[in-house]
Symmetry: C2
Subunit: 355 residues, 2 copies
């Protein structure tokens, strides 16, 4: 069943975050799949809003976007005050870091650029040096995704069915994707023959983004309601659930899109394996366990309104935590570009991160 | 915490199926909660379409609707051919029975009316006799719901939180509801203080119908995405999951709205109790187990389109089973008007049905 003549890096034709003509370009993910609309950014405030408003989403993509946002901030601050810009830019860095709370990659990228800034001579234009680092973060992310694709696909027996949740593809990263990168690589190698995607309420990232990406790449995909995942597993249709992560604690607990924990519980009940795929920058060794990860709660309207239609009556409340925590004991494998950790524990995670 | 001075039958102010001025009146559940629109039916073909198209849904409500549909069919057949009407009506009964496959109450009600028809003198107008039986089925359903409300609420410790799935209320029954009847009774008695409702994709019965009913009755309700149920349980917010059923097999396996099985798996994982509430007419002793229950698959567009908006790209497939089967071993209690069966088995189910 293993295909030959297909590179593991086939199916890599989508980029959602790009630096183009000295500006940041983002594909507006709020209007996919009905429209492909590019937005261009010159100002860090607009970049922070784009992150909060989910023009761009997905932990790695947010980190890369924020890195380019720091480049834009430095350009503005240096041009308006060539003496004190290293002080005034602090506000911009804080703004970026506050734009979404759960993904650790965002703070990781901003802190990395802040370190570079600290070492710069304030008299010189900071843009070239910062752009080089931001571009490197972006390139490293794509390379990490390719690596994780190979590592993750290597865990999957030929001709398997897999289920994924949310969107963890090119749209959620610098390119290629984390969990969806493993699915791309596994489909290329023949390890994966059937891809199911949870539609992922309330934001429908599975329907709107994952299905769109896979259709673009000519990888067949079958959407299901989130509530149908357990019934799908019961029928033996999937051997792996493969998801991304917004933050992984030092003990291997995994924060990811709401619904991930439900899929993990159902997977364990059915003997289906559960794989988490995320770059090492997602691992937050300062978080001892999932209990320490801040979980973003977004507006009730994401549940009360669907499209332009009010789907719930006035007077109904909604609880809209947009992430949940899957404990390490429900995770069969964590895949980063540094390697695979099976049955994660604090010891194994520390060992992998020390590599 | 137990309230006094509140009848267990408070919160009973909604009827969605009624016989009014010699016609069947249905509240069109497709346009709730944004509009309350009544539709009137004189012809059995329109009634069958109303069931297929989900103007009316919910296993008991479908059964009652079909019973009134038989009354309309008999009136027409008798008026157009006073001699052979008992033969020609067979087509109408088949049409009604075929309008939705999973709910057994539909066939149960039609068969009950067919038995009455078999005993009628064909020379007499059948409408009064059949209307009497249909009205009795309707009244019996409401009485059964009141009884189940008391029995089910009696299982719940004071000040509990509960989660329900889909809509099992007045809109899904002759009135008051099955699982939602237990919630009404439990809220009235103080057994239940917090009600959470899964939004229930793809048709959003939880958001559109359950939340609407509870808001009408001034019972506070919090909607969640279906995928958030496990995370809610993890936080200790609910002590019971309470659902209805479209068909219960002789061994206690339960067919119900897609997503029910996922909630049952999560409930067991967290030590949350799982209660199924349905009239005895839902129990199909001819089905040995859940494997024998036909599961309706509806159109892909229910997942690919949300409201008027296309949420998935052209080229994506969807799998849309609208029911699933929860095995008896995940069920803590089945409540019918004949009594409560804890930890259901074929023996216990047979004993309850023999009562």
């Amino acid at each position: 069943m293993i295909k030959t003549g297909v590179s593991v890096f086939s199916y890599d034709n989508i980029r959602a975050v790009e630096w183009e003509e000295s500006r940041l370009k983002l594909v507006d993910q709020r209007v996919l799949p009905s429209r492909i609309k590019n937005l261009f950014f010159d100002e860090v405030g607009d970049v922070a809003n784009a992150i909060s408003d989910m023009v761009v989403r997905g932990a790695p993509a947010i980190g890369i976007t924020a890195a380019y946002g720091v480049v834009l901030a430095a350009r503005d601050r240096f041009n308006s005050d060539g003496v004190n810009w290293k002080k005034t830019i602090g506000k911009d860095l804080d703004l970026l870091k506050a734009s979404r709370p759960t993904a650790v990659n965002l703070a990781w990228a901003v802190d990395k650029l802040a370190q570079i800034i600290a070492g710069l001579d304030p008299a010189n234009d900071p843009e070239p040096a910062l752009l080089e680092v931001a571009t490197q973060i972006h390139a490293d992310d794509i390379a990490a995704n390719h690596k994780m694709g190979q590592l993750g696909a290597g865990l999957i027996a030929p001709a398997s069915g897999v289920l994924t949740h949310c969107n963890t593809g090119a749209l959620a990263t610098g390119g290629y994707g984390t969990a969806l990168g493993v699915i791309r690589a596994g489909y290329a190698s023949g390890a994966i023959t059937d891809v199911y995607a949870d539609e992922t309420r309330p934001w429908l990232q599975g329907a709107r983004l994952t299905a769109w990406e896979l259709v673009q790449e000519n990888i067949p995909v079958t959407l299901i309601a989130d509530g149908a995942a357990a019934f799908l597993m019961k029928q033996g249709k999937v051997q792996w659930v493969i998801v991304g992560s917004d933050r992984i604690a030092a003990n291997g607990d995994v924060a990811n899109k709401i619904g991930t924990y439900s899929a993990a519980v159902a997977a364990r009940h059915h003997g289906v394996k559960f794989m988490v795929v995320a770059p090492a920058s997602t691992v937050d060794m300062a978080c001892a366990s999932g209990a320490d990860i801040p979980i973003e709660t977004r507006g009730q309207e994401e549940l009360l309104v669907c499209g332009d239609q009010c789907v719930a009556p006035d007077g109904a409340n909604a609880w809209n935590p947009v992430f949940d925590v899957t404990p390490a004991e429900l995770v069969d494998a964590i895949v980063t570009e540094r390697g695979v950790v099976e049955n994660p524990t604090a010891e194994k995670m520390a060992e992998m991160m020390a590599n």
